[in-house]
């Protein structure tokens, strides 16, 4: 009897252990499969999400948005704009996005359309671009003879980190330092001439801040970075249109500017190709015979522009603004289909 009682007790305990162990195993397996479906590593998610958001916004027109993240970098790798956070990176792809090299907190973004629009003529769209200014970066726009080289305030509104000041004040370190707090992580000078950049009183600007400059003049953007206490010219790139000049000021880095400019040109080329094909096909419609000559001329001009290579294309299409716009007006006044 006593043996049977002992055996019974042992058997019970063995079974409880086996059943309990199986139950624990099931719980652990379920728990692990749930967490595997959870979010990706934090850095990858930040870079990927921001890249998607930027890509999506850049295709829209006249849109505003903010994004917040710390320690995010934007760079041009193999002619592809890339968002990096920690070791993770994500490409932005085909969109034209002008961004500063680093994000220190909040990125304020706006999209604008590139278009041809001479006075009195419906505009001809050439694509859109996204511009982002970082709240940790101070943009000092040097006003010369009452004119700003770029209209940052017009796009982003009055804010603490977009400062318009008289060009003559830039050589006064005290005046320069008064407009830039010690908390600034980066400072960008946007100037209409190289003279102001060369004489910039940068010695009293926050020591930890990255200093860069962009000179916008005669359809060109000259980029500078800092070497000791002086500004050093690093690259010159075309900026044929105010929208491109804005992009140069905002990105303040030749590589990032080049990436975004390439994407803008690619998009504009696709659009002018579509307009060319459209005009050509409409010129062959029998019911539009009264418009055939005008449509043929439009198609021929666009084909001529489309045949230009990358660096000459943008100059050609922007240079033909008046001609294309007058063609647009003429077609409209004759009740013919317009270009775009």
């Amino acid at each position: 009897m006593q043996t049977r009682g002992q055996l019974e007790s042992s058997f019970q305990w063995i079974f409880v252990l086996i059943a309990g162990g199986a139950f624990l195993f099931l719980t652990v397996v379920l728990f692990r499969s749930c967490t595997q479906h959870g979010e990706a590593a934090a850095s990858g998610a930040v870079a990927g999400d921001l890249a998607s958001q930027l890509e999506s916004l850049a295709w829209q027109q006249e849109t505003y948005a903010n994004a917040s993240a710390e320690g995010v970098r934007f760079s041009c790798v193999g002619d592809v704009l890339t968002v990096s956070s920690g070791d993770a990176s994500s490409p932005i792809g085909e969109a034209s996005v002008f961004l500063p090299p680093e994000m220190h907190g909040t990125l304020r973004m706006a999209t604008r359309q590139l278009s041809l629009s001479a006075q009195g003529s419906p505009e001809i769209a050439l694509g859109s671009a996204l511009y982002g200014v970082d709240d940790g970066t101070y943009y000092l726009v040097l006003r010369d003879a009452g004119t700003d080289p770029v209209d940052l305030e017009g796009i982003f509104g009055l804010s603490a980190n977009i400062v318009s000041l008289d060009a003559a004040d830039v050589s006064d370190p005290a005046k320069l330092a008064a407009r830039v707090p010690q908390t600034a992580r980066a400072v960008v000078l946007v100037s209409p001439t190289t003279a102001y950049v060369a004489n910039a009183g940068i010695s009293r600007l926050p020591p930890g801040a990255a200093l860069r400059a962009v000179v916008i003049s005669s359809g060109q953007a000259q980029f500078y970075d800092t070497q000791g206490d002086t500004m050093r010219a690093i690259a010159r790139m075309p900026a044929e249109d105010p929208m491109l000049a804005l992009g140069a000021a905002v990105s303040s880095s030749p590589d990032a500017y080049a990436c975004a400019r390439s994407r803008l040109i690619d998009r504009a080329r696709r659009l002018t190709r579509i307009y060319e094909l459209r005009a050509a096909s409409l010129s062959r419609e029998p019911s539009l015979s009264q418009c055939a000559t005008a449509l043929n001329d439009t198609s021929a001009l666009l084909a001529q522009i489309d045949a230009k290579n990358g660096t000459d294309y943008l100059g050609a299409v922007l240079g033909a603004e008046r001609t294309l716009s007058s063609m647009q007006s003429s077609l409209r006044s004759r009740s013919c289909p317009v270009i775009a």
Partner: protein, 162 residues
Amino acid sequence: MRRRAQLQTLEPIIIVVILALIVGVVLLFVVRAGGAQDKASARAIDEREAIAMLRKVTSLPELSCPLSETVRTFCIDGAKAQAFARLAADPQERLAYYPLLGSSRINLTWADLSAGTTRSLLLYDGLGNASDVSQSATYFTVYDPVQDARLFATLTIERGAR
């Protein structure tokens, strides 16, 4: 006596088995209910994304009606659509629109009521071998620059799984 002893031996076994069954059923129920909720959320997201896709397509300058056309709602220029379809047939060019249009197939159908005909155009095909394809359709007008008329049209979007 013997039977009672056997029953007593089986008692803890039965209790553990029953407890495990209860916990298993509850867990299965929670996982299944959670899965159903995920499915419903995914469907709602799919629907919102389809509507957003329609807005995106019709706001592209590559397809939108001329600004001189008074539009209250979505409108696609028929001649631009044909030119765009020709461009997007090239895989290299189509790739440029993949970040915007993604894994989807976009078909445009419009009715020429005067001729009594219906025409279809494959605008974009980035679907590839995508599985779990969902379809949505909405209505627009296509602007025909030849007739200077607005034609009733349907835009059908097939989207592949993300």
